[in-house]
């Protein structure tokens, strides 16, 4: 076996070993898709039960404790944020059940064949082309009446012709183990039910981008992707947006939150194409202990015709202005601390500041477990058994080494 992770994409490591032993090279994913199918469940006992009677649509503010299996990572975290009383833009989740029904049940054979046709070697043109064929297949799925009708109803319930963000919410992304940061698609400023449905299909299809497929393969996850939910959420007309982390990513200091922000929508920051203002705030004292305000020459805003986004130049007098006010920073600190407490582990999340600004304009649009430092338990800082040992260890820093 040359590389287990590169050739076997499965969410069950034991199973991967079993399968791997029977193969020299090759693909386990056809078989895996079988495994992922709710109606042919052969999962081991520690796998969650499939949502046989689960709904296609779940409202973010009425999720009834549904988890990532049904809502995807992002959808589940938004539901929990809302549950914690935090400010989250209203919306709903097109559940994994909808995906299973529409895609896995609807076009199973074609999908299995298309996925099986994706070649092994990474980053090749053939792989790109094969992935594109899988995506085209998924994006062209015809939704049955039941799923389409539920999406329609849920969308109308948000209001009249509301602009929404349509965001992929995979069942395995955003877990403590895998951030999947930016691996699946997001569509902003979407309007009208037909557009929303088209973007939901696009999100489903985005499970099969070359990039996402490779990420899954490297992470040892299912090649077929067993479940994808889609979040449909009211757009926040963002004056500024950014990310936060409930620890200092540079050194794991858990008494700090780190914040980065840019003008406009947060996408350029999340995708790494914009340099943000950055801040570190002490959780206990509320002091901004680090502050870097940079030149921000461009911002992503709603496109002029009202749907989609456009990247525009920032007016000269705003470019080097701090993108968050002190009130907004203080509010972010407050929210981040609640989020961390609520989820019980360090978090990494996204926010948007609604036009108009001020503390009550801070919306959370994402939160997930932080993946780097969270694996380490909080390290013991003290040294020595006694107070005097501790004093000596600080007077003579290399004493223990001697």
């Amino acid at each position: 076996m040359h590389c287990l992770a590169a050739t076997l994409w499965t969410n069950n490591v034991d199973r991967a070993h079993r399968v791997a032993q029977s193969l020299d090279v090759g693909f386990a994913w056809g078989e895996h898709l079988e495994a992922a199918r709710p109606d042919q469940d052969d999962r081991s006992n520690d796998q969650p039960e499939p949502h046989v009677t689960a709904p296609y649509i779940v409202r973010i503010d009425n999720a009834g404790g549904a988890d990532a299996d049904l809502l995807g990572g992002k959808g589940a975290s938004l539901a929990r944020l809302t549950d914690a009383g935090l400010r989250v833009p209203p919306g709903f989740v097109v559940s994994t059940q909808a995906y299973r029904h529409a895609v896995l049940d609807g076009i199973r054979d074609q999908l299995d064949a298309a996925v099986a046709a994706v070649p092994a070697h990474a980053s090749s043109d053939e792989m790109d082309a094969a992935c594109a064929r899988v995506r085209a297949l998924v994006a062209a799925v015809e939704l049955d009446e039941a799923v389409a009708e539920s999406i329609h109803e849920a969308y109308l319930a948000l209001g009249d012709d509301v602009a929404v963000a349509v965001r992929s919410s995979s069942a395995v992304e955003d877990s403590v183990e895998h951030s999947f940061a930016g691996e699946h698609d997001t569509y902003l400023w979407v309007r009208g039910v037909d557009e929303v449905i088209a973007r939901v299909l696009d999100c489903w299809a985005s499970m099969f981008t070359t990039r996402a497929m490779e990420y899954r393969r490297k992470a040892g996850l299912s090649g077929g992707g067993d479940a994808m939910a889609v979040v449909v959420q009211e757009m926040v007309e963002a004056r500024a947006a950014g990310v936060f982390m409930t620890l200092d990513p540079e050194n794991g200091d858990r008494s700090k939150i780190a914040v980065e922000a840019i003008w406009g929508l947060g996408e350029p920051l999340v995708s790494g194409t914009a340099t943000p203002d950055s801040f570190k705030i002490d959780k206990v004292t509320g002091e901004v202990v680090h502050r870097s305000v940079v030149d921000k020459p461009i911002e992503m805003v709603r496109a002029e015709h009202g749907t989609g986004t456009a990247t525009v130049e920032v007016a000269a007098d705003r470019r080097e202005t701090q993108s968050l006010t002190e009130d907004e920073l203080a509010e972010l600190l407050r929210l981040a601390r609640i989020v961390e407490k609520h989820f019980g582990c360090p978090q990494d999340g996204e926010f948007a500041i609604k036009q108009g600004g001020g503390a009550d304009s801070v919306y959370l649009v994402q939160s997930r477990p932080e993946t780097v430092w969270s694996h380490r338990s909080v390290e013991k800082a003290s040294t020595g058994a006694t107070l005097m040992d501790s004093i000596l260890s600080h007077l003579v820093p290399d004493r223990d080494a001697k």
Binding site: D253, D282, V284, T285, V289, H290, R291, L395
Partner: protein, 607 residues
Amino acid sequence: MSDNKFPSPFEIETPPGAEGWQKMYNWYHLFGEERRELDENRFWFADRLHHPDVMHPYDEIQCECWWQALGAFNTRIFAMPPAHGVDQRILNGRLFITAVAAPAEDIPARAEEFAGRASHYYENWESIYIGWKAKVTAKLHEIRAIEFAPLPNLEPVETVEQHVGHSAGFRMVRDFERLVTTMYETYQYHFEMLNIGYAAYLNFFQLCKSAFPGIGDQSIAQMVGGLQVDLYRPDDELRRLAKEAERLGIAETVLDGSMNVEQLFERLSDDPNGKAWVADWNATSDPWFVINTDPGHPGGYHTYDTWADIPDIPMVSVREYLRRFRGGQNIDRDTAGVLRERDRITAEYRDLMSTEDHAAFDQAVALARLVFRYIEEHVLYIEHWMWATFWRKSKQLARTMAAMGYFDEAEDMFFLRRGEVTEAIYDLVVGWSVGTAPRGPGYWRPIIEERKGIFEALKAWEPPPALGPPPEEVNEPLTVMLWGINSDLVREWGQNDEGDGKTLRGVGASTGVVEGRARVLKHVSEMSSVQSGEILVCPATSPAWAPIFTRIAATVSDVGGIMSHTAIVCREYGIPAVVGTGNAVATITTGQRLRVDGNSGVVTLLD
């Protein structure tokens, strides 16, 4: 860091007109060819914290006291494991110092000794400190009892009737020795508890830094401070006197700024309530207004008076408090609020730690709080009360000698080294005893004349921040904490010289970012010129500056670390501070717009 070479002490030139300055200071305090090899390979930094100005020959005693006492306690008494003493040299009238590391091979054995010896103090801290106060108070009474007066033409008859058995001349010789010895002895006590106190504080500081690498120094200090300590009493007394003036119905008169204190007290004595207030002031003044006004370390020089000497200084503050009190403000210090905040942040940081650290954290914070009272209060007992009294008695001696015609003016005595003063007193006393003329007046006159010229010439010299090869890292914990000198700062010194002059770097000692106009003050007596909302730029502050902190938006000082007075008080008042910038007073002018970032320790000149 080794790129930033500082000049060798042997390359430093004597400023024009200061030739022969070496004779003004004791030979053992100077760089010398005999030990050139040793001294040229050490890194010296200018101790602007204690000695921002040129030192008078007589005032060298201040340095000698701590040179020996600090060294003995670190090296010989507590066996501070990594550090021996702090060595000193005087160059062009300025003090340069360097920390002496203990030999690496001695450190394990020293650590063993230290553990036993320091534990004895930590375990008995409260009772030792009570004893310490008693010892120091006794010394204070002794030194206060010393009086110098012109020697009488004929001894009073009591000398005979009471069989005193010695002369007023002998007593002058003896009492000067007592004055010096008493001060010297008290400075031993100064270090008795100080560095082991800092070691305990350092333990807590480092524990917090390991648990939270990004924690602000000031947050750590906040968890330990906030106690009701004697150091804040002078300021509390000013507030109390302000409220008393209102209660006694004399506020209008007190607020009449057209009168100085002397005139005001005279006016007030026309009225019984006014009389009562003046009596209250005078009773308060000793000891609470025995507060030195030095720009550097309190008591560092003889040239600065105390609040008690210049009551117009505290009166500025009383008037300010009174105006605010009448304007309906609560002028009491919010001690309870500070303590509540201290307890809140302590509990919250503790919660963020690994539970395995809780026991160590609890012990460390308890010990740090225990020692902190001493760290804050010793300043009042030694730096203010003892030194102020020492200088007051020295000036009384100088006036006495001048009155007897030995010096042309009292100030002349301070141009003699203390050993020379011993000689001069003997010469004076012999002349008086024998009934003839001492040699001194004619002998000293040209020497003093020359030294006064040298002194002025030295003042014009701007010392480099450091001399000699900088070490890779400055990490001796006490140097870092007390003088605020660390690797980054030394690196900055190397760069500031070539910088654009637009930014100054120091130690962020109290958080917050503020923009405003600078008010550069070299001395606390200029305090009344400060307008509300200005940024104070000063050499350093002492409790004498207390009232200013309620008016200013931020503080920038030339010297000091996170435990300096400026740092402690700015945190108490919640205003940003950058300390230890090195040359803010020389660089910034009044009226210039500044941004003070108390988080990062950067001061930006905006104009």
